[in-house]
C-alpha cells in the first residue's frame, strides 16, 4: 500500500526518471542529503565529494528507482552507504599514513577544525570557550548512533518536522522522534559531564 508520503514524493508522469528529473529532485533534496552525509561522515569537508559520488551511482541506477516511492529515502540510502564507504576508505588511509613510528604525517591543512570534522580529540590545553565547546560537542556527536545523529541534525539544523524526518529516513515517525529526544538528552549529559570534568581539571591547576 502506498502512503501519502510516497504519493507526493515524485511528480512525474513516466515510470522512470530521466537525468533532468533526477537533477531537479536532487537539487530539491540537497539540504537533506547533505545533512545525511555529514551525519554519517562526521566532517563537512568530505560531504560534497560523497554527494557527487552518490549522484553518479544513482544516475547509473535510475532504472532501479520506482518514481512512485520517496526519492529522498532512496537517495538518502545511497548517500548513507557512499558516506560509510568513504569513511572506511579514509580510516584505512589514515592507518597506512601513520607509518612505522605511529606518527601521523603532518599536512599543511590539519583536519582538526571543529567546523570540518566530528572525530579526533580535543587539544589538552584548549580552554572552555566557545571553540572548545564546539569541539567537545562534535566529539560527543560521534558517540551517538548514526541514526540519532542524522535525525537530530535534520531536526535541529534543517528544522524538519518528525514526519519529514521519518520520510527522509524511511522510518516510523515515533522512531524519528525517539532518536531526536535520546540524542538531545545524551548530548546534554555528555556535554555537562565534559564541562564538569574540564572545570575540575582547571580548579586543580
Amino acid at each position: 500500500m502506498r502512503d501519502a508520503e510516497q504519493q507526493h514524493s515524485v511528480d512525474t508522469v513516466s515510470d522512470r526518471l530521466d537525468s533532468q528529473q533526477f537533477a531537479a529532485l536532487f537539487e530539491q533534496s540537497w539540504r537533506t542529503l547533505w545533512t545525511i552525509g555529514v551525519a554519517v561522515l562526521g566532517r563537512r569537508d568530505a560531504v560534497e565529494d560523497v554527494l557527487q559520488e552518490s549522484a553518479l551511482i544513482a544516475l547509473g541506477k535510475l532504472d532501479d528507482f520506482d518514481p512512485t516511492t520517496s526519492f529522498i529515502a532512496w537517495m538518502g540510502q545511497i548517500v548513507r552507504y557512499t558516506a560509510l564507504n568513504s569513511g572506511r576508505r579514509r580510516q584505512r588511509r589514515s592507518a597506512m599514513t601513520a607509518g612505522s613510528n605511529g606518527v601521523l604525517e603532518h599536512t599543511a591543512a590539519p583536519e582538526s577544525s571543529s567546523a570540518n570534522r566530528f572525530n579526533g580529540t580535543v587539544p589538552a590545553k584548549m580552554e572552555v570557550d566557545q571553540l572548545g565547546f564546539d569541539d567537545q560537542l562534535l566529539d560527543c556527536m560521534m558517540r551517538l548512533s548514526e541514526s540519532q545523529r542524522t535525525c537530530l541534525l535534520l531536526r535541529v539544523v534543517n528544522g524538519y518536522s518528525y514526519r519529514e524526518i521519518a520520510g527522509a529516513m524511511d522510518m516510523p515517525e515515533g522512531t524519528a522522534m525517539s532518536h531526536v529526544h535520546r540524542a538531545q538528552k545524551s548530548l546534554r549529559e555528555m556535554i555537562g559531564q565534559s564541562l564538569l570534568a574540564t572545570g575540575e581539571k582547571g580548579a586543580r591547576r
Binding site: 540537497w30 557527487q52 590539519p110 590545553k125 546534554r188
Partner: protein
Amino acid sequence: MSGNSRPFEDRIDAYLDGAMSFDGQQQFERAMVDDAQLRADTAHGKAINSSLQTLLAPPPVSLWVRKIASHDMTRNGHVNGTANGVIQETDTPKLLLTEAQPVVKNSAGRVFRLPRWLAVAAVVLLLASGALILLFAVGGGANSGYNATKFRTLAQAYADIDEPQWVCETAEEFAGTFDGRFRVPILFNSDASDVSLAGLAYCHTLTRDTVCLVGEAVGNKVLVFIDRLERDPHPQLPNDSGLNLFRREVGGLVMYEVSPNKQAMLLDWISTSGD
C-alpha cells in the same frame, strides 16, 4: 529514570522547541528558578542547538548539481564528462532550468507543465539577478576563476590573490565577518598613509577556513592570512620567493603577513574589538 524527582527534565526539548503552551512554559521557567540542574541542562541544550546550527548548516546547492542534467548517460551507468569520479565543468554548461520544464501539481494531484517561454523567462530573470548579486558581492568580479577551496601555500596564495573577494563597508561588518568565522571580532584601524586595506579573500592555506586580508603598503601588495591559533600549521616561505613572512597572535587567532616588505605593515593595526 528521573521522572519523579525531576518531572521537567523530559520537557527541556519541548521548551527549547517552543512547543509548550504558555502555561507550560511559565511552569517550566518557575521550575528552573528552583532547580539548578534543570537550569544547566536547559542552557546546555540551547547551546548545543545553537552550535549545531552554526557548525553544520548545509551550504547552498553546488553548481555541479545543476549540471547533472546536461550530462548524457551511458549504458554502464557513468556520466559523460567525468574524470576521477568528479563531474567536470564544461565550457558551455547547460543549466538544468533551461532544459527542463518546471512541474507543478494542483491540489488534486494532477500534473501540469508550465509553458517553455515562462520557464525561459524565469531563468533569464534568475540569471540576471544572480549576476547582479555576484557583481555587488564580489566587488566587480574580482578574482574571477579563483577557486578558494584549492589548497595553496603562502607563496602560491600570494601569487594568486590580487584582489579581494569581499569588501566590508563598515568596521562592524569587518568585525562581524571574523566573529562569524572564528568567534573573534577583530578590527583594522590604520592611520598610516602608506598602508591600505582593500578587502578580504577566502583561501585554503593555513587551514580550509583561512581568511586573507588583501592590502597594500609602501606600494607593495600585502596579504595577511588569519586563522585559529590552535590550528596553526607554522608555514614557511621558500627561500627564493622574494617574500618576507611575519607572524602575530591576536585574541586566539594567528596571523601571517606576507609581502616583499622588510617589516610587517598591516599586522600592527589589527586588534580585537575588546582591546
